[in-house]
């Protein structure tokens, strides 16, 4: 028998284990080869033994690991729940503040104009003040939401 035939037999022995099946022609060829080749029969036996050993391998599961993990997961779930409640509140406050901001914008604009006129501040400057008055709370809220989102997924420890 040629080296190629042994190599092919070994390849098919492994493939049968790995993929779980062989084409009929390959299966027939392998069976025929194994009938006349002690070396490949030994390889097949060793493969069988290796796979059986893997399947039979056992480990001891650490005592209390599951219950410790369950406790830790519950504590983390509570933490996330609190985070989530805080975030909802923040969204609600932001929403209300935005509505009030929009509703009060004309009066605030007039207020800024009046102050600008009496203090002699140029219009672009007091207009910028109005924009900042309107935008800063929203920027703070967005920052808080993003920070909350980041900390939510940060691992507890390295």
């Amino acid at each position: 028998m040629t080296e190629d035939a042994h190599a092919r037999a070994k390849q098919l022995i492994d493939e049968e284990r790995v993929a779980g099946n062989l084409a009929d022609a390959d299966r027939a060829w392998l069976a025929k080869h194994l009938r006349g080749c002690g070396a490949c029969v030994r390889v097949a036996g060793e493969t069988e033994r290796a796979v059986a050993s893997l399947r039979a391998a056992t480990i001891e599961f650490p005592r209390n690991l599951a219950s410790r993990t369950q406790l830790r997961v519950r504590l983390r779930a509570d933490e996330l729940q609190e985070h989530s409640a805080g975030k909802k509140l923040l969204w609600a406050v932001s929403g209300v503040s935005w509505v009030l901001g929009v509703a009060s914008a004309p009066w605030v604009w007039r207020g800024f104009a009046w102050i600008g006129e009496h203090a002699g501040v140029p219009k672009p400057l007091w207009a910028m003040g109005f924009v900042l008055w309107w935008a800063i709370p929203a920027l703070f809220a967005a920052g808080a939401i993003l920070a909350g989102r980041k900390s939510e997924f940060e691992p507890d420890s390295d």
Partner: protein
Amino acid sequence: MIDDDVKALALGLTRRDPDLLDRLIEQYQYRLFRYLIHLTGDREHAEDFFQETWVRVLERGHQYNAKWKFEAWLFTIARNLVFDWRRKKKPQSLDELMAPSEGAAGFEPSTPPEESPLQWAVQQQSESAVQASLGRVPVVFREVLVLRFQEELSLEEIASVTSTPISTVKSRLYRGLEALRKLLPEERA
């Protein structure tokens, strides 16, 4: 029916249902720990990653897709945690890090089955030799051997867990089997 179960699982994970998590931990504890032992090579780290994996399952539950087998997703999370940790600890190539560590087997003898003490002793000796052999197989091959022959995952699922093409998974399995064949002690007649 199975579809409904998977959908209920996905929904429970999205809602971060702690009772569901409790049940999943009980159901998959052994398999996850066994996988982590083989991946990390020691029990202490395997325990840490076991806990961390379940916390991550809670946090990322909304990312679970009902199309996936839960255990494949679970192993992917565990694997990513271990690999991230390895990258942070030692900024070397992962191939180097995958060399098996000394005494990495981390196995304990199984409980005695119903057979004669002599048979049991012989069986134990043979099993620990097998475990030691498995511990000497490089992690990159050991991992796929464990996923295929202990966890019974399909080649596609292993490819998904390890983020590698199926051809690479197959090649690793062939090389893993070859390594294990060479390392297994000779069978006595």
